[in-house]
Symmetry: C2
Subunit: 142 residues, 2 copies
DNA sequence: TGGCAATCGGATCGAATTGATCCGATTTGA
DNA sequence: TCAAATCGGATCAATTCGATCCGATTGCCA
C-alpha cells in the first residue's frame, strides 16, 4: 500500500521539469539530477521510462535533453505513476483477471475492490503538475 | 501501488470469518485454510497479526480458535489493511516525516500527497465487512 | 492430578521484486 | 570526418516480502 520510490522520484523530477518548462526550452538529465539531489543513473532510468510512456520527448546528441510533451496542466499524477509502475491496480484481480478468482467469496469482494481502485485513480488523476507548481504551501485536506 | 498479497488474503479470510460469525461461535485456522484455499502457515501468520491488532480474539488449547472481536459492520477494509501492512501511507513523507524531506520542491508536493493519501484511506474505510457479505453481486462503480 | 493433544505465537529461511550502477549505441556540432 | 555528449538497454546487489518450520501455551480427558 505504498508507492514505489521510483514513482515518487518521478513526481519530484517532473515537478522540477515543469518549473523549468517556461525558461529553458530543454533540459538534460545531469542538471536535473544536481537540482533534485537524486543519483544520475536513477534520473536517466526515469527519463527512459517517461519517454517511452510519451510524457516527455527526448533529444539525443550534443546539447540534447528532453522537455514535456504536454503542458503541465495536462499531466496528472496518475499519468506519471502509471508510466513508472504500470496500470494502477490495488489487487491482482482488478489488473487483468488472469488469476483464478473463481472462489465464491473472492468474487464477492471484487466489485468493492474495483470501487476502491477507482477512488485511488481518481484522486491521482485530480492532481496535475500545474497545481503542484502553482500552490507552494496550499493546505489540502481529504 | 499495489496492495500486498497478504493484505488481500486477510480480507478474503475476514470475509469468510464474518459469514461464519453467526453460525459457529468460534472457528480455527485449519478449517479456514481449507475453505479459502490459502496455505495453512499463511493463515496462521495472518491470524497472529490480526489478533495483535485487536480485530480478532484468539483462544488457544484444544477446541480453541478465534472469532471477530467486533461486529462485521464495525470492521472496515482500512482496519484490516493497517493491521497487516501498517499505517496507510503512499509515500515515506506522509508516514512519519523522519526523512529529510527538506527539499523545496518535495515539500511543495507533500500537501497533495496528503490529500491523495486521505482519499485512499477514506475509500478503504467506507467498505465494511458487513457490506462485503451483504452484497453478493452488487454493481459498484467509482 | 497428570498426561496428551491441539492450537497459537514467534523465529528462521528462501525467493522475488525493487533500486542503483555500468556500458554500449546513437546523434549532433565543430 | 572526428569527437563529445547524450539516451537506451542490460547487468548486479540489496531490501522487502512471502512461505515454512519449530517451540510455548492452553484446555480437555483419563
Amino acid at each position: 500500500m505504498r508507492l514505489s520510490s521510483l514513482a515518487d522520484y518521478a513526481v519530484v523530477m517532473m515537478s522540477a521539469a515543469a518549473r523549468h518548462c517556461g525558461g529553458a526550452g530543454r533540459l538534460n538529465a545531469t542538471s536535473l539530477a544536481e537540482e533534485t539531489g537524486l543519483p544520475l543513473p536513477t534520473v536517466q532510468k526515469l527519463v527512459s521510462k517517461l519517454s517511452s510512456a510519451g510524457l516527455i520527448e527526448s533529444q539525443r546528441g550534443t546539447g540534447g535533453g528532453f522537455r514535456l510533451s504536454r503542458p503541465p496542466a495536462a499531466i496528472s499524477l496518475a499519468d506519471i505513476v502509471e508510466a513508472i509502475e504500470g496500470p494502477i491496480a490495488m489487487t491482482a484481480c482488478v489488473d487483468n483477471g488472469a488469476h483464478d478468482c473463481c472462489v465464491e467469496e473472492s468474487c464477492r469482494v471484487k466489485p468493492h475492490w474495483n470501487a476502491v481502485n477507482g477512488a485511488v485513480r481518481g484522486a491521482l488523476a485530480g492532481v496535475s503538475l500545474a497545481s503542484l507548481s502553482a500552490a507552494p504551501a496550499l493546505e489540502v485536506q481529504a
